[in-house]
């Protein structure tokens, strides 16, 4: 079981990601609404995994990834984003994200992304929807 920090300013996305993670047997240790909250929560809670939106008020997800990586190089971060624009995704990967899931998100996409990072949670062979670095 992974301890997961969800970062998204959208309530419905936080709810759905929380539901998918719980169904996959993981524990959501906190939900953050901004990049700034995520940085503080990460320092305090030391999650095993972070799911991170890109476009958020206060501090965007790419900046938050870069700040988190300054004090925790190991925590894997999955960007959950609607942006199909390659440059933004590349920026997130350069900042230290492990990969990204394109919204709309569903449980299957999330499970495959987690399995790519943590092979022991692999449930299917086909994991090509998660694009890692």
């Amino acid at each position: 079981m992974l301890n997961v920090l969800i970062v998204d300013d959208s309530l419905i996305i936080r709810k759905n990601v929380h539901k998918y993670l719980a169904h996959l047997g993981h524990k959501v240790i906190r939900e953050a609404k901004t990049g700034a909250e995520a940085v503080e929560d990460c320092k305090e809670l030391k999650p095993d995994l972070i799911t991170m939106d890109i476009t958020m008020p206060d501090m965007d997800g790419i900046t938050a990834v870069a700040k988190i990586k300054q004090f925790d190089k190991k925590v894997p971060i999955i960007m959950v984003t609607s942006h199909g624009q390659e440059d933004l995704v590349v920026s997130a990967l350069k900042a230290g994200a492990k990969g990204y899931i394109l919204k709309p998100i569903n449980e299957d996409k999330l499970a495959k992304a987690i399995a790519t990072i943590f092979p022991k949670y692999k449930i299917q062979e086909d994991d090509d929807e998660f694009l890692d670095d």
Binding site: L11, I12, T55, S82, H83, G84
Partner: protein
């Protein structure tokens, strides 16, 4: 970078958004499309619906993009997002507003292109507008509109070009 004339940028931006909206509604939300106004119109005035959300773009093109939903359609979208889950009464409005914002965020994020040059356009977090009644064109601005009719009501999509967008057309030169 060579810049091209962009007198119909709003239309070029709106078309892929409309296409993505149609596929998102029908394939992801279970909404049947009755008709779509495939012709994108430039409007003087657009009547907004009660539930309107806006996103602005940043970068080489600054436009406002809005989606205006009928109540029944927004309720259906909320039902689809919840995937059979129920929400507490005290949370209902917040979840519903969140769905309105997330739909435009997903569609614009998936479909936004930059017809002017190859640079990336950023998008703002969505803003929910309540009680607004209409958009009225001001000089040096344009409003492009597409209306989608579904079995749960209408969705209006507008792209509003701001004055900055027309620098090329006005042949103003940067000093």
């Amino acid at each position: 970078m060579q810049k091209t004339k962009c007198s119909e940028c709003e239309k070029d931006i709106l078309l892929p958004i409309v296409q993505r909206t149609l596929s998102f509604l029908s394939e992801n939300m279970g909404v049947h499309i009755i008709s779509q106004d495939a012709q994108i119109s430039f409007m003087q005035k657009v009547q907004l619906k009660k539930n309107t959300v806006m996103i602005s773009t940043g970068g080489s093109i600054q436009v406002l993009i809005s989606m205006s939903y009928d109540d029944k359609l927004l309720n259906k979208l909320m039902e689809s997002f919840l995937e059979g889950e129920t929400v507490a009464l005290e949370e209902f409005d917040e979840v519903r507003e969140s769905v309105a914002c997330e739909v435009i965020n997903i569609i614009i994020g998936n479909a936004l292109i930059n017809p002017k040059d190859d640079t990336v356009l950023s998008i703002s977090p969505p803003i929910l507008i309540q009680e607004a009644k209409s958009l009225i064109k001001h000089k040096n601005s344009k409003i492009a509109l597409s209306a989608i009719v579904t079995d749960f009501g209408d969705l209006l999509i507008t792209v509003i070009g701001t004055k900055d967008l027309f620098i090329d057309d006005l042949e103003l030169k940067e000093l």
